[in-house]
Assembly symmetry: C2
Homo-oligomer: 269 residues x 2
């Protein structure tokens, strides 16, 4: 990494518009802080999350550290039509700079779903529909709407990131909704990659992060074996710091050599 | 195959309760007709589909051919809570025969979704949510509810079939919703297989069937290349008769040696 070498300019993502969901904490927050120094003056970072307070705090930190960066916070619940419209409104209001070099959409928002239940306990369509609305539908419709808001033109590179998981490719007991949603998202973004060769798409599995989600995993997973595995992982120091994994994703974006549509795991690179 | 050898008893699925969705036409209808002779006297076949007329016709055919079989038709739209309740009501009313040897749940109902659109055209959450409600949520909640309605007991073997597709494992341009839904279902049923070793689960991809769905594929797929591939497949005789593929699935169920949770394609066996 060249970061921090005195006198040497850091590699950059250019003048960009970047939309990041689930930005207020955990991996999303780390990513925002690591992306900011790679965005050139005049770039805009749109931060989306449900928690207004945590978003405002992050916005303050970013404004203080990166004066050339415009930061827009959008407190919104992406599981609702209203929340989607709030984000799309913010995207439509972005300055349509003719010299914009890059559009980056990062679908990081997601929820674990009810992990104390087994497959056979999911008998309520409303509960399941609500999970998919937030975790699958909103990622599809938001990405589509944003891509449409930025017509193709020479010099504008578009990148779409899906924050995926090992759970997208491997089933885990007690994690019915999470695995199903992540598998759905991986497939959906593979199709985008096929259909739009001009859009760079990556399904990035960030590895086992030391976040609140992992805390839930080791305490609430219905299956005792799964719970123990996550507990062991925590106790043996096997969990990753969000910023370590977020940095790998930033490097992926900077290098920009991945196969579009690929599922790339933290441990693969 | 032993079918039709005079004087020789056909292998049987025993005395079974079998619930089949999407039964009124295409693959579902063929499957119903091929399953019926493998169900012993006293078995019940619950047929679910939206089309009341086509269901009634199939029911008549089955009653005529297999006098020992109880056939219950349930006209229901599984994308709605009301439709789900209709099916669950019919399942609860099934005779709880103590000598029932097998419960078979076949999740065959499904829709293609809008294939004239690309990923970037899916900007309406309502459209996408409605697709997943029918194609993913209903399969999960129906399967769970039925499994719960039949408590485990020695001598009762439970089998769950997910009618999958090549699209569950391979992305196709123009088929965003279909591929995403099928990938989601495969994952979801893999989890059931992991969680319930006593339930036999198979994700069966029936191959390219010569159905109405294929006609839509070769005429309505938004991507011209995809359209042409499906057209070529039709013209070169590459499409399969539903009954050929349904027979392979019946054989799989009779042999019952598959790895639970596996994705098994028509061409693999």
């Amino acid at each position: 990494m060249e970061a921090g070498v005195p006198g040497k300019r850091q590699p950059s993502l250019g003048k960009a518009a970047c939309i990041l969901t689930g930005a207020s904490r955990g991996f999303g927050r780390s990513l925002a802080l690591l992306l900011a120094p790679r965005l050139e003056a005049g770039s805009v970072l749109v931060l989306v999350a449900r928690s207004q307070g945590a978003l405002a705090e992050l916005e303050t930190d970013l404004r203080r550290g990166f004066s050339g960066l415009e930061v827009n916070s959008v407190p919104a619940d992406l599981s609702t039509e209203e929340g989607m419209q709030l984000v799309l409104g913010a995207v439509r209001e972005l300055p349509g700079a003719a010299d914009l070099e890059r559009l980056i959409i990062i679908n990081n928002a997601g929820s674990l779903g009810e992990i104390s239940k087994s497959f056979v306990d999911f008998t309520s369509p409303a509960e399941v529909n609500s999970y998919f609305a937030f975790n699958v539908t909103s990622a599809l419709c938001l990405t589509s709407s944003i891509l449409k808001a930025f017509p193709e033109r020479p010099g504008l590179c578009k990148t779409v990131v899906n924050i995926s998981s090992l759970c997208a490719v491997k089933p885990f007991k007690s994690w019915t909704l999470y695995c199903t949603g992540k598998a759905a998202r991986d497939m959906m973004f593979q199709i985008l990659a096929l259909e739009k060769p001009d859009v760079r798409v990556v399904n990035y599995a960030p590895g086992p992060l030391d976040t609140e989600m992992q805390q839930l995993a080791r305490t609430k997973s219905g299956d005792p074996e799964v719970r123990q595995q996550f507990l062991d992982m925590k106790q043996s120091g096997g969990l990753l710091d969000c910023s370590i994994s977020a940095q790998k994703l930033v490097n992926l974006l900077l290098e920009d050599t991945f196969d579009s549509g690929a599922h790339i795991d933290f441990y693969d690179i």
